[in-house]
């Protein structure tokens, strides 16, 4: 459980970090909170020769809400997401989700950027970002570009981020209505057996005005359930429409057997978790 040798770099600004990354190329890895990368390095499954630590890049540590948009810097820790009242007012689902990530010690180090950029299907933030319809900002040698969270994930650990880019920011609209992040896990610190992020808003007629559903750790990427979301908007929220939405979402998942259980169990649990998340979000809408 000892990593291979590596050179450690701590650039002070994002441009410096990008310059380093461009120079060092494939031999370098960017490190944020390190909770995915360091264990991988300790197992020597990853042996980067250079680590570029972003913790000194102060511009990546921020939470702002203005003009109906929330903007979170990549190096904002989960503990900071939990602590921010401003963020809680704008998007309470973020605190609810963050509190279900690992344990307090991990959350003091773990960052939003690391969690979403790594592409680990077990991470909770990717589905949350898809649910929030977030936009990721990527900075590279050729400048900045944006990618929708719903289009960012390609396969496990494969994302739309280019190797020479750094994910610097996530932006999403301020939420309205009810929310829920339901997660079944074996214990504190575990990844989800199944988890669901749900945002629902109620129209003046009592119908469902907007709906957004995304799922964690039920395929090799997070899953945005567009059809299920639209179904609730079209049909309103009732036991029957929830059942249909769940059935639709379950059509998209592809869980695998692991120590959390066989796929058959996960399918069942995922349906229950999603059903509960929709019910809770609706009760808060």
């Amino acid at each position: 459980m000892i990593t291979g040798s590596f050179e450690y770099h701590q650039p002070g600004t994002v441009p410096d970090a990008i310059a380093l990354l461009s120079k060092l190329g494939d031999d370098a890895r960017v490190i944020a909170g390190g909770h995915s990368l360091i264990p991988t390095m300790k197992l020597r499954l990853a042996m980067p020769e250079h680590l570029i630590d972003l913790q000194a890049c102060q511009e990546l540590k921020k939470i702002s809400v203005s003009g109906g948009e929330v903007c979170i810097g990549a190096m904002t820790t989960q503990a900071e997401l939990i602590a921010s009242e401003e963020l809680h007012q704008a998007a309470p689902i973020v605190r609810e989700t963050s509190l279900q990530i690992a344990d307090p010690q991990v959350r003091y180090m773990g960052t939003l950027g690391g969690n979403v950029a790594n592409g680990d299907p077990g991470n909770d933030m990717p589905a949350l970002m898809q649910c929030l319809d977030a936009t990721f900002v990527l900075s590279g040698p050729d400048g900045e570009r944006t990618v929708l969270a719903r289009e960012f994930y390609e396969a496990a650990y494969f994302t739309a981020r280019d190797d020479l880019e750094i994910l610097t920011e996530a932006r999403f609209p301020v939420c309205a209505g009810g929310y829920s992040y339901e997660k079944q896990k074996r214990k504190i610190g575990d990844y989800a057996t199944a988890a669901a992020a749900v945002l629902l808003s109620k129209g003046g007629d009592g119908g469902c005005e907007t709906a957004s559903i995304a799922l964690t750790n039920l395929a090799d990427t997070p899953i945005y359930c567009q059809q299920a979301s639209e179904h609730l908007v079209q049909n309103g929220v009732s036991d029957a429409s929830i059942a249909d939405a769940v059935t639709s979402a379950m059509g998209q998942i592809d869980p695998v057997d692991d120590n959390r259980g066989p796929a058959e169990f996960k399918r069942h649990a995922a349906a229950i978790i999603l059903q509960r998340a929709i019910q809770q979000a609706w009760s808060r809408a």
Binding site: M1, I2, G4, S5, R44, D103, Q184, R186, K187, I188, G189, D190, Y191, T193, N259, R260, G261, P262, F265, H268, A269, I272, I273
Partner: protein, 806 residues
């Protein structure tokens, strides 16, 4: 001045002796990070060892190329079996009479097996060098299922002993078979089962798990070539035994070996065994002439160092229609992994599994255990239990439930109907044990009353109705357990480890100013010996526990003892402490008599002094006596005040307890929550109630882990699937329920202070209580038994098979 009644009480309280919830004296250093563990030991020129381990579960080792590793700057040596062979240290004897490879000798037999030992200037270089050792393997078919071990196409694992028809424990019927161990009356039991009104049968599997102490195993060996002395610091639960074994293996005279167990960060049986890392650190220090440290990491600890359990227990229990148990039959298939390295007293290859008649008066019983080799890590240690007692307790407490189902009877009532009655003690069990004392009915009734048992059953019945009516998706389980432990190994006449009788010892020195030093043959790993042994002594010799230093773990200073495991410290070393204290007091009485110019018999002991009978104003305190013993010539009495006692217990002790767990189960997600847990323990005389309570909380939490998710699982290729704490369940405070502790006090009649030991009871009794609760939740739907661990998916699967998701 006369000693008033009040002042006697005050003086007694000042001693902080038996029955005092004295704060743990160890905690000041532990809570401040000032403990001194093996990995804290740093010596000049110390080198670091690290293992190349097998990624295969079964393979022939074709070649090992160490050249690239040796060339890495900072690497001092790379040892393989070939290097150890001239010293005859490429294999080592196990505690169970088998032998084990120290480094792979021609083949590997489990994933994680030690193949080569890299020695380098620091642990980072060592880790890099491990990657540079090239091992060429030829994979062999893997055997993970013990029930397939004797099939015609089964691979032969132990080619070294394939032709040996006799093992350490009798005849072997197959190269993959280790032993058959039989106890009790086979024919009689089978006859009873054949004729009984009711017979319940079940296969009860106690899965493979691991003690997983917070501190992993490690050692620092330092061979001083000038004076020929070897010093070995290590995570040893039995340092004296390690010294003897090290002497026998290395040929170094025993007086030239000093073994030290420093602070130990939890043992739970994991640190009883002798591991290749210890041997390699010694050899490496002898070879290099420099100290060598080896400390395993968590994955190595989980995958290679001493698992626990892995017993498949096929049971039959016979009873009358009214529920009187007539006979118990058990056949156990014991998966011992690649080497038989179980830590059991020599004559007990399946430990004290024969305590499996539990708390019940069962007239006829038979037990057979077959030990089997598989391609899994060796071990079979007693994880917070006396040798295989937790397997036995789980077995009988499941069989009682299965029988209750068959009889359509309440399981609490069935237990009460069959308990050994108070007037039957000392009780001879059908499998050969003499239970020393107990009062099971009193404890049981107290427990049932405390939880409101009848109301719980009424509530449960209502919930079943509600479930069937679609009003809830939750079920409620009431897990009952009445366990009897057998601890305190043990009488030298039948208990030994590698030929060394399982006595224990205490040596006491009273200092001239009336404080004391006591040294014992045991070693605390968190039990709080420095606190509790001082309390035993305080009550015996009238010196405050605060003025008594307890030392353990250094074989150069401590008297020989067999160490700490199997809840044996209080029953054996605790007894030695009391007996040594009584020797001190006997001599003190002679000194006091001289000082008071009376006959010995004219004195009586009162808390901390000898008082002249009928003249309470005439007395000598222990402090005065201690001073006099060193400074005053007393005719016929040697100066000084010291004593040593080696205690050979006349019998085991038999702690017991009544546990009840109320659990709520989500049928859809398989999640289970403990609503209430009541634990009544009877450990005889209670030395420190606070420490007992702490032990019970800790043991119950380990029991929760084991019952609800903790396992060492292998895939069909022998890969360890649960080698990290992500998958190996250790509960956090979040998963840990509240515990409600209680007690009765039935002293052991043969122990000097009546104490029985408690550290392991909650693990032994907790596992069946949790598991029974899960099983009980589904009883109304036709479930008889489902295997542990009861993690979410297995509970879900149980519900699914019962049709509860339709």
């Amino acid at each position: 001045m006369s000693a008033t009644a009040e002042s006697v009480q005050e003086r007694r309280a000042a001693l902080k002796g038996l029955g005092t919830s004295r704060k743990r004296v160890e905690d000041a250093r532990f809570t401040q990070g000032k403990g001194n563990y093996v990995d804290d030991i740093k010596l000049p020129d110390m080198l670091f060892g690290d293992f190349v381990r097998s990624q295969h579960a079964h393979a022939r080792v074709k070649s090992i190329d160490t050249s690239a590793a040796i060339e890495l700057p900072g690497v001092i040596a790379v040892l393989t079996a070939k290097d150890l062979e001239p010293l005859s240290l490429h294999w080592m004897p196990t505690l169970a009479g088998d032998k084990q490879m120290v480094l792979a000798d021609g083949k590997v037999l489990f994933q994680g097996q030690e193949v080569a030992f890299v020695v380098a200037e620091d642990r980072y270089i060592a880790a890099d060098a491990v990657d540079l050792v090239k091992v060429e393997y030829e994979e062999l078919p893997v055997l993970v299922d013990p029930f397939k071990a004797e099939l015609p196409d089964a691979p032969i694992l132990r080619e070294d002993i394939a032709d040996e028809k006799e093992g350490a424990h009798g005849a072997r019927r197959h190269p993959n078979h280790i032993f058959t161990w039989e106890q009790g009356d086979k024919a009689g039991t089978e006859a009873v089962i054949g004729e009984a009104d009711v017979v319940a049968e079940e296969m009860v599997y106690y899965h493979r798990t691991h003690p997983c102490p917070m501190e992993t195993c490690g050692s620092v060996a330092s061979m001083d070539k000038v004076n020929g002395k070897l010093t070995l610091w290590g995570t040893f639960q039995a340092p004296h035994v390690v010294r003897t074994v090290a002497s026998l293996l290395s040929g170094i005279a025993e007086h030239n070996i000093r073994v030290v167990s420093p602070d130990i960060g939890g043992g739970f049986g994991n640190k009883v065994g002798v591991y290749p890392g210890y041997v390699c650190s010694i050899v490496a220090s002898i070879v290099t002439g420099q100290p060598v440290k080896w400390v395993e990491d968590r994955m190595e600890n989980l995958s290679a160092t001493a698992f626990a359990r892995d017993y498949w227990m096929q049971g039959k229990i016979a009873a009358t229609k009214e529920g009187k148990i007539l006979g118990l039959w058990c056949h156990t298939t014991a998966d011992h992994g690649a080497f038989d390295a179980c830590a059991d007293p020599t004559k007990y290859p399946a430990g004290f599994m024969s305590i499996c008649t539990g708390s019940y008066d069962i007239p006829t019983a038979y037990l057979a255990v077959d030990g089997i080799y598989t391609n899994k890590a060796p071990g079979g240690v007693a994880y917070r239990c006396s040798f295989r007692v937790t397997e036995a307790a789980y077995f009988i407490e499941r069989m009682i439930e299965v029988l209750a189902i068959k009889l359509n009877m309440d399981a609490a009532e069935l237990r009460a109907k069959n308990f050994i009655r108070k007037d039957q003690f000392p009780y001879q069990s059908a499998l050969g044990w003499e239970y020393d004392s107990g009062d099971y009915h009193t404890a049981w009734d107290k427990a049932l009353d405390a939880v409101g048992y009848k109301q719980l059953r009424a509530e449960q019945a209502q919930q079943v109705e509600d479930f069937k009516a679609g009003k809830t998706r939750k079920l409620m389980g009431v897990g009952l357990c009445h366990f009897t432990e057998i601890v305190g190994a043990g009488p030298v006449k039948n208990c030994d480890i590698l030929g060394m009788g399982m006595f224990d010892s205490c040596e006491i020195r009273i200092h001239p100013t009336g404080s004391a030093l006591a040294r014992l043959g045991t070693i605390s790993q968190g039990q709080g010996h420095a606190t509790t042994f001082a309390q035993i002594l305080a009550s015996e010799i009238g010196i405050s526990a605060d003025d008594i230093t307890i030392e353990e773990g250094d074989t150069d200073t401590a008297p020989y003892g067999l160490g700490t495991y199997g809840s044996r410290s209080t029953p054996v070393a605790g007894a030695a402490t009391a007996m040594a204290g009584r020797k001190i007091r006997a001599k003190a009485q002679m000194i006091a008599a001289y000082l008071l110019e009376v006959h010995d018999n004219d004195l009586e002991w009162e808390v901390d002094r000898f008082v002249v009978k009928g003249a309470p104003e005439r007395f000598k305190t222990m402090k005065e006596i201690a001073y006099a013993s060193y400074n005053q010539a007393i005719p016929g009495v040697e100066p000084g005040l010291e004593a040593v006692s080696y205690y050979d217990p006349p019998n085991m002790t038999y702690p017991f307890g009544a546990y009840i767990c109320v659990m709520d189960i989500d049928v859809d997600t398989g999640e289970a929550g403990v609503r209430q847990f009541y634990a009544l323990d009877d450990c005889g005389t209670r030395i420190n109630p606070m420490i007992i309570e702490g032990q019970v909380h800790g043991g119950l939490t380990e029991a929760l882990a084991i019952a609800m998710g903790q396992e060492i699982a292998y895939d069909e290729l022998g890969n360890v699937k649960t080698g990290t704490l992500m998958d190996f369940f250790i509960p956090t405070s979040w998963e840990t329920p509240n515990y409600q502790t209680d007690y009765t006090e039935t002293p052991s009649p043969h122990h000097p202070i009546g104490a029985k030991g408690v550290g392991e009871s909650p693990n032994v009794g907790g596992v069946p209580a949790f598991s029974n609760a899960v099983n009980d939740a589904f009883r109304a739907f036709g479930l008889t038994h489902t295997h542990m661990p009861h993690d979410h998916w297995r509970i879900w699967q149980t519900a699914n098979k019962l049709g509860l998701h339709n």
